[in-house]
């Protein structure tokens, strides 16, 4: 298979646009045969997931590109960083980590990226539009951009995202092309009670199950009776992109490429059909917790990053209450949403409750948790999925209301009444 390079691609490779662009195109050119690409195509935006500091190699990579004079060729947003620049000292973040994570932030900022520092760039100013060709990293953002907006991105891994941003070019494959966006797996929601469908937890629980079932296929879900809010869709996409490799899902009657079931399959027959029942959802909800009762040391909301709408949903639940003295109550978000929430007077209400806010990072991306935190509670399937491996904590999954009640009580308090046969 030969890769046809445009004149611009060849100039990039020859170093006409500088050594960083040459390095980026070298990586893209070597990756093209892995993707089975015959040519490259233009993108008009990028989102960089390589921002999270993990160790020396990622920092060396970022500083090497920066030292070569890398500049992004398209408008580019930045995913979460490894550091809340302002409040990291309130937590257990080691100074050496903070220093290196900050160097990595500066390296990406020096390339002309917009310092959004968020895993929800689709709720920021630079939200892409339907049909737009983009190169996005961050699994939840990829699934949201493709599924909910109908923008076109492959599932970009860290380090390739920035190569695409500094060249403006990507392999013309996968979800960039309409022909690869056809659903291949039909999922029917069967006899799911109304009160479950209306519960916020339905979305992360269903997403967790969907990811496990779909693996790397494109599921088409039939049987939604309500139009979910954007934050509910966010929770669903994040969960499916954690437990599976889902980069695109279609919800019939909801998402833009699935006005009808025929449209979602574009006349083709599904590879497989599967029914999802309440019992399946109950099992998936249980699977999200490693622990079902006991003393909670921390309650954390905001993976993906908390939106202004979620702050508005949370604050009334806190009224007249105070967090238990043994519990830390944390909301993780980005500087934009925290700023908006502050102006709306919502942060003061959170502080009065005894809660805290961390911006631009999250508990998975920075080593902020003190060692005494053994049991975490969350309403996020993504936090629930990754915390046991990354943080070595136990996890209790519940609704936002359960999370608030548990934070007040200092132990897991869950209302399981709708999650029963």
């Amino acid at each position: 298979m030969t890769l046809k390079l445009s004149k611009y691609d060849q100039e990039l490779l020859a170093g006409t646009y500088g050594p960083a662009a040459k390095f980026g195109m070298t990586i893209i050119q070597r990756m093209a045969p892995v993707y089975g690409a015959h040519e490259l195509l233009d993108i008009s935006a990028a989102h960089i997931d390589s921002t999270i500091y993990i160790g020396e190699a990622g920092l060396e990579f970022a500083e090497k590109l920066a030292s070569l004079g890398a500049q992004v060729a398209v408008p580019t947003t930045l995913n979460v960083s490894g550091l809340d620049e302002h409040y990291w000292q309130d937590w257990a973040v080691p100074a050496d980590w903070a220093n290196k994570a900050h160097r990595q932030m500066l390296a990406y900022e020096s390339m002309g990226c917009v310092p959004t520092w968020t895993c929800t760039p689709y709720q920021d100013q630079m939200r892409p539009v339907f049909g737009q060709q983009i190169a996005w990293g961050e699994s939840n953002a990829i699934a949201f951009a493709n599924s909910v907006i109908g923008a076109r991105t492959e599932r970009y891994p860290d380090l390739l995202d920035i190569c695409c941003a500094i060249t403006g070019r990507v392999p013309a494959v996968g979800l960039h092309l309409d022909c690869n966006r056809i659903g291949n797996l039909l999922i029917n929601l069967v006899d799911i009670p109304e009160q479950v469908r209306l519960d916020d937890s339905f979305y992360p629980v269903f997403g967790h199950l969907l990811g496990k079932i779909a693996e790397d296929q494109i599921p088409v879900v039939q049987g939604f009776t309500h139009r979910p809010s954007e934050d509910q869709l966010k929770a669903l996409c994040a969960a499916a992109a954690s437990s599976g490799a889902v980069a695109l899902l279609h919800l019939v009657g909801i998402t833009p490429e699935a006005p009808t079931i025929e449209a979602a399959f574009q006349g083709q027959v599904p590879n497989a059909k599967l029914n999802i029942t309440l019992q399946d959802l109950i099992n998936a909800r249980l699977d999200l917790s490693t622990y079902h009762d006991g003393d909670v040391q921390m309650v954390v909301l905001g993976s993906p990053h908390f939106s202004l709408a979620e702050f508005k949903q949370l604050i009334p639940l806190l009224k007249g209450k105070h967090v238990h003295p043994n519990v830390r109550f944390l909301v993780t978000t980005n500087r934009l949403m925290a700023g908006l929430a502050h102006r709306a007077g919502l942060l003061d209400a959170l502080y009065d409750f005894g809660g805290q806010v961390t911006v631009d990072t999250c508990i998975l991306a920075t080593p902020m948790l003190p060692a005494e935190i053994k049991l975490l509670m969350t309403n996020s399937a993504k936090y629930a999925y990754y915390a046991p491996g990354l943080l070595e904590t136990e996890i209790a999954f519940g609704s936002m209301v359960d999370c608030v009640n548990s934070a007040v009580a200092g132990k897991v308090v869950r209302d399981d009444s709708i999650w029963q046969i």
Binding site: F23, T26, I27, R30, M31, V34, Y35, G36, D49, S50, I52, I54, G55, E56, A57, G58, E60, F61, K64, G137, E138, S139, I142, E154, R155, Y156, P157, D158, L159, L160, D161, G211, E215, D216, A241, S242, S243, G244, A245, D287, T290, L364, Y385, Y386, P388, G389, L390
Partner: protein, 144 residues
């Protein structure tokens, strides 16, 4: 007894090592400790196994985009798998291997076999990967 599987080469290399294999996909972020090489996804069948210096066989990567970055850290820390086998070309693994080559001149050999062949591989089998993409399996002896 030795079986031979002909693999598609994504990144070539010669390796002889023990394999750890599972039919469930794996995310390296939250799934692989790059300081030790231990598989730490507590919901994955290989949880607790150490992949450093071994051949890792999983169908594909799931979840986080950060898998590539974690694998690159592992290469730098000498805790990466000696080679990897998947059931379809895996762009995340391939990218980490290519960047490891560009930055550190140490690419990780990466091969693709069918899912049917993948399930033949059992954790503890010794594999010899040749430069032309053959995988020679020496099954772990089972004492009955």
């Amino acid at each position: 007894m030795a079986d031979i599987i002909e693999a598609q080469i994504i990144i070539p290399g010669e390796v002889t090592a023990e394999v750890i294999a599972a039919s469930e996909p794996l995310s390296f972020w939250g799934g692989y400790n790059h300081k030790t090489g231990e598989i730490i996804d507590r919901r994955h069948p290989l949880s607790g196994h150490n992949a450093a210096g071994r051949i890792l066989a999983v169908p594909f990567t799931r979840g986080s985009s950060t898998t590539t970055a974690v694998l690159l850290e592992a290469v730098r820390a000498n805790t990466a798998p000696a080679a990897m086998i998947t059931s379809a070309p895996d762009s995340f693994f391939a990218l980490a291997s290519i960047i490891a080559d560009e930055l550190y001149q140490s690419p990780i050999p990466l091969l693709v076999i069918s899912r049917k062949d993948l399930i033949i591989l059992r954790t503890g089998d010794r594999l010899q990967i040749t430069s032309d993409g053959n995988i020679i399996i020496r099954h772990r002896e089972i004492n009955i």
